[in-house]
Symmetry: C3
Subunit: 306 residues, 3 copies
Amino acid sequence: MNPRKDLLDIQSLTDEEITFVLENAVPFKDLFRRSVKKVPTLKGRTMLTLFYEPSTRTRSSFEVAASRLSADVTHFDVESSSVVKGESVLDTVETLEAMRVDYIVVRHKQAGIPNLIAKNTAASVINAGDGWHAHPTQALLDGFTLREVFKDTRGARCLIVGDIQHSRVARSTSLLLRRLGMNMAYLAPGSLMPREVPQEVAQFGNWTDALEWKPDVVYLLRVQSERLEEPFFPSAAEYHKNYGLTDARVQILRERGIYLMHPGPVNRGVEITDKGMDYERSLINAQVENGIAVRMSVLYWLRPGA
Amino acid sequence: MNPRKDLLDIQSLTDEEITFVLENAVPFKDLFRRSVKKVPTLKGRTMLTLFYEPSTRTRSSFEVAASRLSADVTHFDVESSSVVKGESVLDTVETLEAMRVDYIVVRHKQAGIPNLIAKNTAASVINAGDGWHAHPTQALLDGFTLREVFKDTRGARCLIVGDIQHSRVARSTSLLLRRLGMNMAYLAPGSLMPREVPQEVAQFGNWTDALEWKPDVVYLLRVQSERLEEPFFPSAAEYHKNYGLTDARVQILRERGIYLMHPGPVNRGVEITDKGMDYERSLINAQVENGIAVRMSVLYWLRPGA
Amino acid sequence: MNPRKDLLDIQSLTDEEITFVLENAVPFKDLFRRSVKKVPTLKGRTMLTLFYEPSTRTRSSFEVAASRLSADVTHFDVESSSVVKGESVLDTVETLEAMRVDYIVVRHKQAGIPNLIAKNTAASVINAGDGWHAHPTQALLDGFTLREVFKDTRGARCLIVGDIQHSRVARSTSLLLRRLGMNMAYLAPGSLMPREVPQEVAQFGNWTDALEWKPDVVYLLRVQSERLEEPFFPSAAEYHKNYGLTDARVQILRERGIYLMHPGPVNRGVEITDKGMDYERSLINAQVENGIAVRMSVLYWLRPGA
């Protein structure tokens, strides 16, 4: 396995690398059961967060992951000042490069920005979400979570539900789960289904057809509130009725033993009901915990300067 | 002494627990005289701050306390994103629970939120102020400060002045000081005196009567600036004249050797004058320093998962 | 060399102190080539940032410097709360003093505030920029950068270009470089040239004359965007044409082997062109890296409580 500097998307990963990250996350997760949840692995290294879009959860998850590896964490607060001063992304990256930070965790609303940054720094760059493009640590934590549930993920069936078209989560997670041998399907309104879906991914327009496909896992995407105001998007109530996990649909999942996932945070009453949140086969909290373990594993795996 | 998971209010504490926290704060405070102000006690633990109301001072005090115990600190920045995304408190808590943080320090404008959170997490929850309800670490640091001043707090007399009705500080500190055997009195305009004051707490409507009660300590409450705009609240000038510590009243305190306290930050010209801030028996700075020592002691005492 | 508590400006430094800071920054910078970029020098000390003006870069530079010395860092978030509550600077300082922090890094738009703070605390105060007055760590990092470039700085010639009148960088850096034996000149529009320039500093109103002075280094100042709206200030385009580093002027620098500096972040198209940013003798990134090393050296040198 060659050393790798950056984690930008799922496509470029080898099977060996995916396995390495997922398997090494296991002992990191075991650490969370101890009172001292920390190892000295990255002592003296600095991880910097560079979030052009706010995200409390993802940023905190990376921060806790770095702390548990004994790395130092710095938040480069783009919003408060540099952007106001009109500084370009590349000028910011030159600065970070000169600061000799070891890891840069980037979120940006524009696809491709993490790749651009990675080319211009010796630091390891981790894409924490760029536009509709990719969110590879989300995909890896989703894969880790399903490997915990299924002894063998090969042949397991996952249905992703929602705004597939604008979802970097759908894109990255779908790719990763297929790499783990899973069968994938999408359920979305026609206006939110991507034009080009890989042939091996099944497509559905309603729950009845989708459930006949016999999924083992239903993965709900988050409805972005800004979308609800767009003309081609259904209203929250309409979305819930047609694509949300209503109480009746929770009952179907229960009867069939289907697992439930969501990248968080949920919109109660839109993607899911209160009862859905209490569903006993929900993996949503497991996803959060596994997110820290997988991000520790990613930081452990990448090689700044490689 | 049974292990305790959370610190939510003063009522539920046993005398033994109060004594434990106050006595163990002493060696922590001694640490501050050294150049290395740090012990490895909580190495590998994570304290997360969850502030729905901003408070630079209280948050910093907890942060420094945790750092001096070698814990890692994460600020879960509720304002920037989760609340915007409409995430409920309980969904946030499920996330934090899944992150396996050890301590959650909460401030919220609604009374009872820390209790709700505590019931839904294995982490230790520390109430850093909830509505008009409670602010137990403030009470403990106030008690610690007065134990330093009086060999024996029993029988010492403390007069709390200001907007008692809307003050969680008044509520918690008054309870704690009575547990330490002190006699309490309130001085407040009628509109800001709570309807139900415990019988053993004396009530006054003006300074002349209150000073005849012969307090050993005068504890000024902070006037919340938003209150000054409410119809039943006196103007800043009127408040100062009738309930503030004017220069003339500072002189009375000085003549009688009365100590002065305030939870900070002060409104100069409202609760207190510039001369009042320089008063030699002011304990205001001692309260700040003791706040860190007492919060270290609280973190040391609580048992996550208990 | 007597111990010194604060770093407030360049004037008050002895030659021995300047040499001490610049020479000790060398081994700290060497550290950045290692994977563990950290030494335990300031373990158990706390550095607090108190920024009344936002500055992502300077704050991050101090934060990384402190982390690499193993100090704990706390950001006292003045904007979010204390200032809203109308707290005065001195009341804030009393609080910080009571918290027993070891280092306070201050930025304020008003000149003299760091001096005021330094007089009222036992903590070491580092001025990170106060109004038009001083920015001593910028000056020291500039001096360090030029000592790396010139074996002997004595007699080397530096031309500072831009809004000299309102620049604390110009003031501090000019002083420091003269202490290192360099010759200084200013290039500025008449309205932005200070009334009283020391006799030994040459003054120019246009590039032609300034380049005839044969500078070894051109130091561009940042144009503050708020200035562009002021009546006596040239427009961005006019500024660029008359005082900016146009592509033609980059070519002159190249032909003569002149070095280029800028405190960052740059305004592309105003002070400098895209080509200027790629100029091979630019020291801008070196300034950023050296900033961390020099700030480590400053923290190592100062003695809280001295």
